[in-house]
């Protein structure tokens, strides 16, 4: 009644005119509102929107699009060798950042996820794996569109993506598959020593069996259902040097559901202790990062999700079937993802929705 008096029906007005209690309540609300208006008063900000847009334009062209976009998996991306970086990242996550269990010689098979919080600084300061050895791609994953959820599942041999609960207003899904990829990392003492020297640090003492030891990593296959965004345009953009703002055309999905076979790692020689020692002694690894590594509960079965400080993280939301999940969101509270592992597969439900909505979708898979 105070905020929007015209919206109050005539009958309510009639009641108000004769009710002392309502009049008293109205007075209280009005007084509070006056106090709030005074408290929250600020000098008016007059703006020049056209000038502000001109100032913003260069940033729009310079900045990369959101990391979830599909062009990052396009053929051009793969051809340009960025896969090496991608595999390196997987190696970091699965073999280096994770203090693998004593069973590392045989297999790393995560069955649960856990977030580890890092600062931008510690992430930026993490050395490139190529400083410690050689990263080789042995099997390049291939991204393809699929006609349906069933077709995608048929290709990948993964469960059919068939959510029973989706937010309203979503457009129909497009489907994509990513074939299995594989790579290896061979540790080189010579490279590690050279890198340490280049950083002005003393070459760390490393276990003898680490030199020449090889980690083999397998990722995928994977499948995804993309709601909103233009998959073909995304793929097309991946093969052209277009700016991201082409006519405002949207390449980023409103919601994406992905299923991937959990990454798998084997080792030809190094033990968990060897790798831990190697990581801990390398220049560039901050004490904070070491601490984060060691904070992981059961490393043989845990897939760590590195999260940058400042992002929103929800600790251990649990799905209806008891599966532990992780929720990670951006700092604006508008974009997030739920990640969990079930049946040896990693599930991701991400989009511009609240944690609850994303969990509802995850629960319906």
């Amino acid at each position: 009644m105070y905020d929007e008096p015209l919206a109050v029906p005539e009958t309510a007005r009639g009641h108000y005119a004769t009710c002392a209690a309502c009049q008293g309540r109205f007075t209280g609300i009005a007084e509070d509102a006056r106090q709030m208006t005074a408290a929250l008063a600020v000098p008016t900000a007059t703006v020049d929107a056209a000038a502000a847009l001109r100032a913003l334009r260069p940033r729009l062209r310079a900045r990369p699009r959101f990391v979830l976009r599909l062009p990052s998996l396009s053929g051009r991306f793969l051809r340009r060798g960025a896969l090496v970086t991608g595999l390196a990242a997987v190696l970091v996550v699965t073999a280096i950042v994770t203090p693998l269990a004593q069973t590392i010689r045989n297999v790393f098979a995560p069955t649960q996820v856990q977030t580890i919080t890092l600062t931008q600084g510690s992430l930026a300061g993490f050395p490139d794996l190529s400083h410690w050895g050689t990263v080789t791609v042995t099997q390049q994953p291939e991204l393809k569109q699929a006609d349906s959820a069933a077709a995608a599942a048929g290709t990948t041999k993964l469960p059919v993506i068939k959510p029973g609960n989706l937010p309203s207003g979503l457009p129909g899904a497009q489907y994509a598959t990513l074939s299995q990829g594989a790579g290896s990392f061979t540790f080189s003492k010579q490279k590690a020593d050279a890198y340490a020297a280049s950083q002005g640090a003393r070459a760390p003492k490393l276990p003898g069996n680490l030199d020449g030891s090889r980690l083999d990593v397998t990722i995928g296959p994977a499948e995804a259902a993309i709601y909103g965004g233009d998959l073909s345009a995304a793929a097309q953009q991946g093969s052209k040097d277009e700016t991201p703002s082409q006519g405002g055309r949207e390449l980023v999905p409103q919601l994406a559901i992905g299923i991937a076979k959990a990454p798998h790692v084997t080792s030809t020689g190094a033990t968990v202790k060897d790798i831990e020692n190697a990581v801990a002694s390398q220049p560039g690894v901050s004490p904070e990062l070491k601490k984060a590594i060691l904070s992981i509960g059961d490393p043989s079965t845990t897939l760590p999700i590195p999260v940058v400080q400042g992002m929103t993280v929800s600790d251990n939301p649990t799905l209806k079937d008891g599966t532990k999940a992780a929720f990670v969101g951006d700092n604006s509270g508008t974009l997030g993802g739920v990640i969990f592992i079930r049946g040896g597969n990693v599930y991701v439900v991400a989009g511009a929705y609240s944690e609850k909505t994303l969990l509802d979708v995850a629960n319906s898979l």
Binding site: D32, A33, V42, A49, A50, L60, V252
Partner: protein
């Protein structure tokens, strides 16, 4: 920018030249969104930060984020921008240590009060500082409903930004007012 008037009647295409499929030049959807919402996004950020310059920084960040992530003509564009403006501003507010000094400087530059009244300026700066500290203490959603409403958004717009029904906004606003009032009382009694 030069604007050409669109003639009332279609021109005859030159012989042998196919007429264009779309006669009207479409405005860039992002530009349209920016020109519509920029002032409001700045106003929301300014309501939290009480700093026009920083509010414009926040608005630039929010629009750049939106551009990276969403279609410019997305139905939720306005609501997304409003919500992001509040959250980004509150995050900045929490990270700032030099606010008091800057507010005083801004006050000296912008306040229509007589320049020979430093005591009053200091008092206003202190009041604003207290309000900002109280806002920081509120839960993000509580602070957001206050900031959005007192930035001039309608109940429907506040509801859309916070993903709640319009009918809930009045109740949320009332509770938020009480919460801020309580925080201010705590702040001033210390």
């Amino acid at each position: 920018m030069t604007v050409k008037a669109v003639p009332d009647l279609p021109e005859e295409p030159a012989p042998g030249i196919a007429p264009p499929q779309h006669r009207a030049v479409e405005r860039d959807p992002f530009e349209e969104l920016f020109m519509t919402e920029y002032g409001r996004v700045v106003a929301i950020a300014n309501r939290v930060l009480a700093d026009r310059s920083e509010a414009e920084d926040v608005a630039q960040e929010v629009f750049a984020d939106f551009h990276r992530r969403h279609r410019s003509d997305a139905s939720f564009a306005g609501a997304w921008l409003h919500q992001a403006a509040v959250h980004t501003s509150l995050n900045r507010l929490r990270g700032k240590r030099r606010r008091e000094k800057r507010e005083l400087a801004q006050m000296l530059a912008e306040r229509p009060a007589p320049p020979d009244d430093p005591a009053r300026l200091a008092e206003i700066a202190e009041e604003r500082r207290t309000v900002r500290i109280a806002l920081q203490r509120l839960r993000p959603k509580v602070a957001a409903v206050l900031v959005l409403r007192y930035s001039g958004l309608s109940y429907a717009e506040v509801g859309a930004a916070l993903k709640v029904g319009t009918g809930q906004v009045g109740t949320l606003l009332r509770r938020a007012e009480q919460a801020l009032k309580k925080e201010l009382e705590v702040g001033t009694s210390v």
